[in-house]
């Protein structure tokens, strides 16, 4: 699954640690998601969606659909 997490974070001038704190996960998790090594759960995806004020599909895209 691809995601725009790194771009969205950069647009808001946030660090990985900052985003991790805001969403209640570790910095390692944010890094793994950004690199596409780990797909987040639905509750975590909703937390990103709420934080960035975007729909989940605007943050995460299924690679097969692209």
């Amino acid at each position: 699954m691809k995601n725009r997490l790194k771009v969205l974070r950069a647009e808001r001038d946030m660090t990985q640690a900052g985003l991790a704190e805001e969403t209640g996960v570790s910095r390692q998790t944010i890094n793994a998601i950004e690199k596409g090594k780990f797909d987040p759960s639905l509750p975590l995806a909703f937390r990103f969606s709420k934080l960035f004020g975007l729909a989940i599909e605007d943050i995460f895209q299924d690679e097969q659909e692209l």
Binding site: G24, Q28, T29, K37, F38
Partner: protein, 160 residues
Amino acid sequence: MLYIWENAYICKYNFTFNQINMTMETQKNLRSLEAKRLTTRLAAWTGAWMLSFALVNFGSRFLWDYNETISIIAVLVNLVLGAGMVISNIRHLRNLDELQRKISLEAMGITLGVTLVVGLAYSNLDIANVIPFDAEISHVVILMGLCYLFSILILNSRYK
């Protein structure tokens, strides 16, 4: 009058804003404190269990000269501390975030599989008299610990 009212409104707004900020900060601090508390508690239970285990092993020989009643009490204490360690471990795992939980789950799966397969093969070597010494359960425990440790290290490096 209007000035006082405006000031009061600003103060109220600032107070609410500060309260929200403080709540978010407090939540973050609480999460971090909870993680530290659970890790410390797990370490304490594990340490206590290990000490009680050593006490049962060496105490019967050196302290109470194989007195059955004391040995049974020591084993019961060891079991109770073991149960505390297991509960503490479950609480620690529940507090991990989803990636850390996934890493732990994979490491436990690898450890279980390796211990089962290698442990039974090792036991068979003893039964078939291929190895000149007895296959001890402690060897399996060492294998289990090392396997879990290396699995955690390798899996953590994979998600870096």
